[in-house]
């Protein structure tokens, strides 16, 4: 089975804000990266965050995911485990939150080169204490789901850019992460591969009722998302729902 064959879209998601953001600011010395962002991201929604270089989109993603602590404001994450104010958590608990509830896909994949594809995906489960055989079994199912059957034992260097990104998608989803953050996930890919990877990402996340937040420069990527949030100088300047 490949991710390219889309099944019918899931039922319309309930209007539950999985991420509730209010008055978010982030400053670096004299530089203001975020200048008061208010945002509600709904469960099961795909959201593209766009903006020029330096507009604050990656900082926003890092604040939403608990990677960096905002200077002020709040980020409330609501998952099946309950509500949590992300920015107030200590570092260790934010790490745990990312490990257990969130998923990430980076521009270059940033997979561990010495591990095989299946080990890279299984690592996310092993970090949660899942025994290796079970972790690898589940990881292999995700690789097959994303069209990488037969490539489980390949090293990352033996995969194409698009295949490596699918491994990264599998890693982001293998734990059942309820929100997946993707930072320029197709930035290093050609347009055809980019479209395929984006479809795989949407299928693996929104297709399963999860929320996807994508930071991108690429209009074609944004056009595949249900909602587009545009930033300029650290503020939201446009927030539009794309037509189905």
């Amino acid at each position: 089975m490949t991710a390219h064959a889309f099944t019918a879209p899931p039922p319309a998601p309930a209007a539950v804000p999985v991420l509730h953001v209010r008055g978010l600011t982030k400053t670096y010395g004299m530089t203001t990266a975020l200048a008061g962002v208010d945002l509600d991201l709904l469960a099961g929604q795909s959201v593209a965050i766009m903006g020029a270089s330096g507009s604050g989109k990656t900082t926003l993603l890092h604040c939403l995911a608990g990677i960096v602590r905002p200077s002020s404001g709040s980020v409330v994450l609501t998952t099946s485990a309950g509500r949590v104010e992300v920015s107030s958590l200590p570092d260790g608990q934010r790490s745990r939150l990312r490990r257990e509830r969130l998923g990430f896909v980076f521009q270059e994949g940033l997979l561990i080169p010495e591990l095989t594809a299946v080990e890279n995906v299984a690592m996310a489960l092993m970090l949660r204490g899942v025994p290796r055989p079970a972790a690898e079994h589940h990881a292999a199912l995700w690789l097959q789901y994303l069209g990488l059957a037969g490539m489980e034992e390949r090293r990352i260097g033996q995969l194409s850019g698009g295949q490596a990104q699918r491994v990264a998608i599998a890693r982001a989803q293998v734990t059942g992460a309820e929100v997946v953050f993707a930072d320029e996930p197709t930035g290093a890919l050609d347009s055809d591969t980019s479209r395929e990877v984006m479809q795989a990402l949407l299928h693996a996340t929104v297709g399963g009722g999860r929320t996807l937040v994508v930071v991108t420069h690429d209009d074609a990527v944004a056009a595949q998302c249900q909602r587009v949030v545009r930033l300029r100088d650290g503020r939201v300047v446009a927030d539009t729902l794309e037509e189905a």
């Binding site: 960096v68 025994p131 290796r132």
Partner: protein
Amino acid sequence: MSTTAPGAPATDLAPPPPPQGGRSPVTLQVSWLLARRGSGRSAVLALPVIAFATTTTLLLVVLAGALSFLRWDDDVAALYQALAAFAVVLLVVPLTSLGGAAARLSARRRDDRLATLRLLGATTATVARLTVLEAAAVAASGALVGVGGYLVLGPFVQLIPFRGERIGAAFWLAPWVVACVVVAVTLLAALSAVVGLRQVSISPLGVRRRQDAPRAGWVRAVVGGVVVLAVVLSVQVGYADTAVAIAVILGAFGAGLGVLNLLGPWVVSVLARRQVRRADRPERLLAARSMAQSPKAVWRQISGVVMACFVAVVAGSGVSLASASDQPVSGPEQFLTTDIRTGILITVVATFLMVAASAGVTQAAEVLDRAELYRSLDRLGMPEETMVAAQRRTIMVPLLVVTVGAVALSGALVLPLAGLAVAMAPVSVLVIVGCLVLGVLLVRTGVAASRPVLRGVLAEGRS
């Protein structure tokens, strides 16, 4: 009031054509510029300096101890001098490894800038000269700090007794010898940088490592096994002629070392494959795959320990046995066994210190090399402890296996001698074993010393 539009030139006059390129020393100019605009990460700069300083201090101390033996010219003086020279030669291997690690770390620090320079049109040769020059400069700074370490340690090392008297003022080296050591360490760093450059490819788009050479094959294991068998058989035979016996023992020693170096990468790779299959936790899997990826690099770091173990077991057994038997109560030979044991302990500790420094520096270089990957793992929620544990296992597991293996192999080579030593001089043997354990703990401390670098790299991703 100015009417100039934002972004428009302030004057109608276009800038003049660029000046012609001249004969200015490009490497020196650019090196100076990069040195002034150094990396803000102090640990990155400090680590290789500390590594070279440790190298120089240890080298000077060992050399000073060895040269202090030149003040004797009686019957046993030649033996003392030969043994001291042997100890110095043994330390060259870990010293080279440490120098190489420091040089590689020094080069990594400039990776981004070197790639940018290539993009600007600098030739591979210019970039290579820059790297070598900088490695040499860092080494020279470290070596000068190391001279300070030698001066600080000197008063304590002077108290060590040889031949019944403290080394005393004979410990201090002539200034020209110290200068030669500083120059030698600097040249060694430059040479290591040249070797290190052959392992990376600096293109305008970045610096990447070249793939390691193919893995060591089973042929090595077979050759090694045959040599070991031949050596074990040869030392079991009784030799009537003492000269032949000494030649056989020395030959066995050399062959044993050769076999270990031949087998080392293969042993690490077999061990790694085994660990990969058995790994049940993230840090174990990461460490095992890391070892499997570059067994030669892992071996390079720990190979110095093999020599130390060989010396500790072979010479230590002999000395322990000799000390348990009747000793001359007077004359130049009365202190010989005690002094050889002291020399062995110093050599073993110095070796482990160098391996520890080398492990710390190499791990730090590894973290800097893969900073973005470590940051991404942190974002995925991988605990810092897991990353540290993986780093530690990458070195400590093969180190322990190699240490135990080297002790067992060298013990097998001199089995009757080692067995007798354990039976007749257990305390002496225990001291040597304790020294090896201390050495392993030193290496563990060295690996742990790279943690601030990891913490700094992760903190950069969180700010």
